[in-house]
């Protein structure tokens, strides 16, 4: 039987995380209005990735999870990023 150490995250922590996420969402909506053309998509992706990182770290409790799980998550993301790079390098330089 595997027992877990109980991590209790207090309510205010979650509330602060939500406020942070809402601020980032506001930025996400405002960025296209700034008309930065080439950088809009890039900024949108950076903001979305930041938000996703925050959700995974705090809401999904990766912050307090064991190291092996963190490594697994990083590996899956690395696999996905390499697939993106491979696809685009194939598509652009074909």
């Amino acid at each position: 039987m595997t027992t877990e150490v109980k991590h209790i995250t207090e309510y205010p922590v979650y509330a602060k995380v939500l406020i942070g996420l809402l601020v980032l969402t506001t930025f996400t909506i405002l960025v296209p209005w700034l008309d930065l053309t080439a950088f809009t998509a890039l900024i949108a992706l950076v903001l979305a990735s930041t938000k996703a990182g925050i959700v995974m770290t705090y809401f999904m409790h990766l912050k307090v999870e064991y190291i092996l799980l963190k490594i697994l998550v990083i590996m899956v993301l690395a696999i996905y990023v390499s697939v993106i790079i491979l696809t685009f390098s194939d598509y652009i330089f074909r």
Binding site: M1, T9, A15, L18, T25, V55, Y58, F59, L69, V76
Partner: protein, 201 residues
């Protein structure tokens, strides 16, 4: 035979959920990749087509999902603190958010369907290739996301029932944790869907 103990492996249960989430990330990841390549190819069409989407509804749904993500995470804290009433309230708020999301989607999709702006109609056939691709991807990705949201809500209803029955308690709450993880996945996918579909310029 008085000492029959249930075999419990919470760490294993959660790892299993994570492995499932990995497959989901790659499933949606594949769709995002198709979207990225097509957007790269039909930039102007994608931009024009995305203007048809209602940014306000998209933004509202983003906020609704973020709030629901917080309440579901808080419900775990409530269960850990043996606060059954709080856990119930928080899970009910989460489910309410799910309903609001679906109602928004009903109006959003309903508007497009009433305009016959969906794959297979004469109007769609007459549009440029990039438009057809955009709307096909839009309906498929938001539809698949919506399916996940409904499944997540069903899991949370089960978790809520078990919290009420005392089957999920401060000693045994891995089902709620896994249901929560799934719910956060629904949120994660939307975090990427929203800017990509609604805010492409």
């Amino acid at each position: 035979m008085d000492h029959i103990e249930m075999q419990r492996d919470d760490v294993g249960a959660k790892l299993g959920m994570w492995v499932f989430i990995f497959t989901e990330i790659l499933l949606f990841g594949g769709l995002f990749l198709v979207y990225a390549v097509m957007r790269h190819r039909y930039t102007a069409d994608f931009h024009q087509a995305s203007l048809q989407l209602n940014t306000f509804i998209g933004a509202l749904n983003t906020v609704v999902l973020l709030i629901s993500s917080m309440t579901v995470a808080m419900s775990i804290t409530a269960v850990q603190k043996k606060d059954k009433r709080m856990a119930t309230i928080l899970l009910c708020i989460t489910l309410l958010c799910a309903v609001i999301f679906l109602v928004d989607k009903y109006f959003e999709w309903g508007h497009k369907i009433s305009m016959t702006l969906y794959p297979g109609t004469d109007l769609m056939q007459s549009l440029k290739h990039g438009y057809i691709l955009f709307f096909s991807l839009y309906f498929f990705m938001t539809g698949l996301h919506m399916l996940h949201l409904v499944i997540g809500a069903v899991i949370l209803v089960i978790a809520l029932t078990k919290v009420r029955m005392g089957l999920i308690n401060d000693e045994h709450y891995v089902l709620l944790e896994n249901g929560g993880l799934y719910w956060h996945l629904v949120d994660l996918i939307w975090i990427f869907l929203f800017p990509l579909l609604y805010l492409v310029t």
